[in-house]
């Protein structure tokens, strides 16, 4: 982190609309210059957090601090944040120039300064030749860029972006993601982004906060979230995941014997901080509490599955039959129906040099994994998805 001083602090913030709780005890810190994304399904509360930061909503409990100042009671026009709205919200009766100049005019900046700053901002988003146009004459992508210019020209401490790319088509969205990252590098200000698109969140952010029903499930770097999800929700929300049922047989320090899908297997626990150690998700306490008889879930990403042809009379719990293959160019997805009836997904790289290594539909295979690549979670019975 360039500057580890906190820029935004949410202190035990909660929000209810009537008697409907929308945010439950949100407590987090965002650092200066950080790009943080709130990721989650619709209704999880991510937009509400953004609105709380902007000042359009007030928290039911808790305080909000921006740049060290307590802004909980401050209205939007007194906060050093600017928002880029999902539908751009450009003023239809003003030109591009007037739109971008609006914030500066509100602060009574002198005309010369306004002109310089506005054109500088428009150049940054490559829209300087359109300054006399009206929003209705611009395409979606162009409106998006003007909306960004209108926000950044005021040099806010924080830039809030509410699903700004969701209305754009795929190619444009990818291009804008790259532009936004560049913009952040140039400006160096804090970006708070909201999206429900996991790929988008991962490609742009320093940290991602995965949210569900008003609670932050995990806040971490994209790789940590992907490889070390703390619970089933996060694991399932981000990418594909296979779940095996199991029960602890015995525990020995950093490894344990467990019954997984009916077969006895050795699982390793406790990452040693190298990033590649098998991870026990959940809180350290709950992992520590795993003992003989505890029910567990073993999670495996499709690309971490290792298959080998099963012996003819091998009908163990970790064997299955390939029921479908999906060719994806670089990879092949294999859908395997296990002995117990469960279907899992395995992704293999397509190896042109060893075509005999290709599995085909109907073959029986044994499912395994590279040691330490599995994730073990305590089975909280109420976790349902």
């Amino acid at each position: 982190m360039e500057n580890a001083l906190p820029c935004i602090e949410l202190e035990h913030v909660s929000k209810r609309f009537g008697d409907q709780p929308v945010l439950r005890d949100i407590h987090l810190t965002i650092n200066h210059g950080e790009f943080l994304t709130f990721l989650g399904p619709s209704g999880c509360g991510k937009t509400t957090i953004l609105r709380l930061l902007a000042g359009f909503e007030r928290p039911s409990t808790g305080r909000v601090r921006i740049g060290g100042t307590d802004v909980t009671d401050l209205p939007p026009h007194r906060r050093a944040v600017n928002t880029v709205f999902q539908n751009y919200a450009l003023f239809p009766h003003m030109t591009v120039f007037d739109n971008v100049a609006f914030g500066l005019r509100m602060r009574r900046a002198p005309a010369k300064v306004i002109e310089e700053e506005v054109f500088s901002a428009l150049r940054m988003v490559k829209m300087e030749t359109h300054h006399t146009r009206r929003p209705s004459q611009l395409s979606g992508g162009q409106q998006q860029r003007v909306a960004i210019a209108r926000a950044v020209v005021n040099k806010p401490l924080v830039l809030l972006l509410d699903e700004p790319l969701s209305a754009l088509d795929y190619k444009l969205r990818k291009a804008m993601q790259i532009e936004l990252k560049e913009l952040r590098r140039t400006l160096g200000i804090t970006f708070v982004f909201v999206t429900h698109d996991q790929e988008e969140a991962f490609s742009m952010s320093d940290r991602v906060a995965v949210m569900n029903e008003g609670v932050i499930e995990q806040i971490d770097s994209p790789s940590a979230i992907y490889e070390k999800p703390v619970n089933l929700f996060v694991a399932r929300f981000v990418g594909e995941i296979n779940t095996f049922e199991g029960r602890v047989l015995s525990r020995n320090g950093t490894s344990m014997q467990a019954l997984v899908e009916g077969e006895e297997v050795r699982l390793s626990l406790g990452g040693n901080g190298n990033g590649n150690g098998a991870h026990c998700g959940g809180t350290p306490a709950s992992c520590g509490s795993l003992s003989q008889g505890s029910p567990i879930k073993v999670l495996l990403r499709p690309e971490d599955v290792r298959l080998e042809r099963a012996a003819p009379n091998d009908a163990g719990g970790l064997t299955g039959c390939i029921v479908d293959t999906v060719y994806k160019g670089m990879t092949i997805d294999l859908i395997i129906e296990m002995t117990g009836g469960k279907k899992i997904l395995a992704t293999e790289f397509f190896n042109e040099d060893a075509p005999e290594a290709l599995f085909s539909v109907g073959e029986r295979v044994r499912v395994g994994w590279v040691e330490d690549w599995e994730v073990v979670l305590p089975d909280e019975g109420s976790q349902s998805l």
Binding site: G55, R58, D73, P75, P76
Partner: protein, 284 residues
């Protein structure tokens, strides 16, 4: 947000204040005056009485009230019978013709109803147009005294208020989804049934709105009976006017006004009920 904006305070105070002073207070005054006694030379004496409201049921007033209600009702029904087919046909024209047609309904709507009422005199007069035509056609042998009768007032109300019926009807009929009618036909309903079971219920809000816009003014527009009905015609509107400006019996006039307001309230309630029912039946 807890922002103490001067602008907001000003806007709220001005608007609420104005309406409180010029709408709430006068209506409360009217209500209160109905319970007081008339005085001389002041208009009202602060002596509580229920006599005014009791006198409303005297034949002297109540007959007038019933006459007025009957006349207003007939006017409403006639306007409805004439106006509904008109609005229906108009709504089915091509968009260009529709706009033109609406324009020509709006013109009399905007023309001062006083002038339009006056224009009827030339038609209804003893030596007016209507008599001239009827004589010429041989339907009558002597000119008929149409003016200064209740019939003239009836014609006057219908003539003045017809556009007020047509416009809400048109608005409601225009929103009617033609596919619903086609669906009904498809299911075997004849024209008659389709109308009564599909079109009519769905255009009910328009019918009620139009009826209210005709019925209430027909009860209270005193210049129509004044001009066309002469001294003989006494309806509620004239009666109230007389109480205030001729007989100087303000409390009684106020009580009659309150009665009128109650009638209006009842009609609004009926409208609200019908509107709710149609709303519930509509797809979201």
């Amino acid at each position: 947000m807890k922002d103490r904006s001067l602008f907001k305070a000003l806007a709220v105070t001005l608007t609420v204040g104005w309406l409180a002073v010029f709408v709430i207070v006068p209506n409360l005054l009217t209500l209160a005056t109905g319970f007081l006694t008339r005085g001389e030379p002041e208009f009202v004496l602060p002596v509580f009485t229920l006599e005014n409201y009791a006198r409303l049921f005297d034949p002297a007033f109540f007959d007038i009230f019933l006459d007025s209600v009957w006349l207003a009702l007939c006017t409403t029904v006639l306007c409805l019978l004439v106006g509904y087919p008109f609005a229906y046909i108009l709504a089915r024209l091509t968009p260009a013709r529709r706009r033109l047609g609406l324009l020509f309904v709006v013109i009399p709507f905007w023309t001062n109803s006083l002038i339009r009422t006056y224009a009827l005199i030339a038609i209804l007069n003893v030596n007016g147009l209507l008599n001239a035509v009827l004589l010429w056609l041989g339907i009558i042998t002597e000119p008929v005294e149409l003016l200064y009768t209740n019939t003239a007032v009836f014609v006057g109300f219908t003539y003045t208020l017809l556009p007020f019926m047509i416009l809400p009807l048109y608005a409601s009929i225009e929103k009617l989804d033609h596919r619903l009618i086609e669906a009904a036909r498809d299911l075997g309903a004849g024209s008659f049934q389709t109308f009564f079971r599909v079109s009519l219920p769905l255009t009910l809000p328009g019918i009620i709105a139009g009826s209210m816009l005709v019925f209430l003014p027909a009860l209270s527009m005193f210049y129509v009976p004044d001009i066309l009905g002469g001294a003989k015609s006494l309806l509620v509107g004239n009666f109230i006017r007389n109480q205030f400006l001729v007989a100087r019996d303000w409390p009684f006039g106020a009580a009659a006004s309150v009665l009128l307001t109650v009638v209006m309230g009842l009609l609004l309630y009926v409208y609200w009920l019908c509107h709710k029912r149609v709303r519930k039946a509509e797809p979201a």
